[in-house]
Subunit: 337 residues, 2 copies
């Protein structure tokens, strides 16, 4: 039996998404198991069991691409990659600060992976770095040499890839683009700071801005009604649908987010001048409502004429991007025989 | 005769500084010739003549480190590095946008260097990138792997070094740290934008802020008098001397510059997490009046605890830093036999 498949997993606060990819990068299996918030071992055990079932062709519930007949067992896995929200110390193999996985902080992830998967080589990454690597290998960043990714989720994450390699920094602290301060007198951020990109462009910040806009005297009746009706259930998707319908207050709201995102992207292009900038995460579903003002702001800010038109494009891989990237990282870091 | 010396030159708006270094990095000669603002060829001819005289031991006017006896002639040069203010296209060898050298824009620098120095290998760099490389090889960044430099001159330049290599970007537009937008409603910048770091921390911006502060009702008499007496001759050095003497308005002024610099450095550390951040240029002569509030702001902004104490330190090489770096770049890029 040849071990030529790679497992990539992405642990979030509620669920662990995973994929199995072939040596050529074909996604053979996609799945998800619940995250045990305080039990890394139990979560990885669930992962092991689910993948084992998938590979044995016994699973019915997961999306399976291609035939699983004859895939056999875990023995087909050549390496495992795990992506985690938070600061992943690639030297010690442990998880540092992780607001979404507080019960996992300080865990020795490498040891836990070895407990679950025996002697398989394991690779770790921060989740947005993994998503960026996935886009680099199989998505919006294919063929590039340098990329910046910004993930507009509940919070705002980021990643930097230079010369075809993830840039993790001297203390694994690089890529915290969500906490770029865009105005020290701006809105308060979850990090305790003020005026971070995240305070405008993460969904928490965006929904707060939406509520503030609804109480403004010049907001549209449709916008006010949506915010009042949905209360704490309001989603960025609903606001985006309203913008699609031409609602001015919604459009203004997304334009502000886009301009702030553009300020951050413009700064990044002035610092790094990458081949492309990739925007992912749920808030990015608003598409051109955000991306158009973002690109206009970038063009205003970037000094080098040659860099002014760097493409700012949506991510392509969707919710499994980090799992795909983790699998690719496992594939690339596996020592070649 | 063995060719084992390296010439590094740094062209500014009024003068061209140069050094000759030995293969081991010893600075043997330091000098300066006037820049011909509209004549690249004449400027490089002056450089060639001055270096030729220095090497022949005929020059008396320049600072010469060590003995020049027996150095002979230009035949001792193994390679030449040229640093230029502006956007240097390393592929075509030409100079792009260059506010300080408008008469040199569009010049094919490589051809001009070959005209002056024959078949010697030549290397080009942006001036702040060259200064950063000098600090990396022989100054405040020795022993590091990743560095960010910010040069607080008339304007504000920057450079990024990662994995021991200058990061110039996909379109040679990287390192424009001076145009990081720190508040889109901030003061107008020379680039036409608003709220760039340069608008606060370049000497033009700083002196403008000083004049505004002098007209404020709570400014000190000493500060008001200095600004009134010196008029358009006012220098950052004089303001710094006043701050040294404990003048509150001066101290407030530098604290604001330091906090804005800290906002920029904090953003850079959150993005790149380098080993060190080096602050150079004339305005940096204000030392701790700027660096202390800068470091405090960095500590407030940086998310990863491990990266919060990244050293933010003064440059060490002084005005010849870019020439030194250009010589080192020439030395490193010379194909080894």
């Amino acid at each position: 039996m040849t071990a030529d498949l790679f497992l990539g997993a992405d642990v979030g606060g509620t669920g662990l998404k995973y994929v199995v990819v072939s040596a050529s990068g074909l996604i053979i299996i996609r799945g998800e198991v619940p995250t045990a918030p305080d039990d890394v071992g139990a979560t990885l055990e669930r992962l092991r069991e689910a993948v084992s079932e998938d590979l044995s062709g016994k699973s019915a519930g997961n999306q399976v691409t291609g035939s699983t007949e004859g895939l056999g067992s875990l023995g087909h896995l050549a390496a495992v990659g795990l992506a985690c929200a938070g600061i992943v110390d690639l030297e010690s193999g442990s998880l540092g600060r992780s607001p979404n996985l507080p019960g996992w902080e300080g865990t020795d992830l490498t040891s836990q992976l070895h407990r679950a998967f025996g002697s398989l080589p394991v690779t770790l990454a921060n989740d947005v770095n993994a998503a960026l690597y996935g886009e680099f290998k199989a998505g919006a960043g294919m063929g590039c040499n340098s990329l910046v990714m910004i993930a507009l989720g509940t919070g705002v994450g980021g990643g930097v890839l230079l010369n075809g390699q993830l840039h993790t920094g001297a203390h694994f602290g690089a890529g915290e683009i969500g906490h770029m301060v865009l105005d020290p007198r701006g809105p308060t951020c979850t990090c305790g700071g003020q005026g971070c990109l995240e305070a405008w462009a993460g969904s928490v910040g965006l929904l707060r801005s939406a509520r503030a806009a609804a109480s403004g005297s010049d907001s549209t009746p449709a916008f006010r009604n949506l915010v009042a009706d949905r209360g704490s259930e309001l989603t960025t998707r609903e606001l985006s649908a309203l913008a699609d319908a031409g609602d001015m207050t919604s459009l203004d709201l997304f334009r502000e987010v886009g301009e702030r995102l553009g300020q951050a992207v413009g700064n990044l292009v002035n610092i790094l001048d990458p081949d492309r900038v990739i925007i992912g995460g749920g808030v990015a579903q608003a598409g051109d409502h955000i991306l158009k003002p973002c690109r206009q702001q970038v063009a205003r800010q970037v000094l080098a004429e040659t860099a002014r038109t760097v493409p700012v494009i949506p991510a392509e891989l969707g919710p499994h991007a980090a799992a795909v990237g983790a699998a690719w990282l496992a594939r690339e870091s596996r020592p070649t025989a």
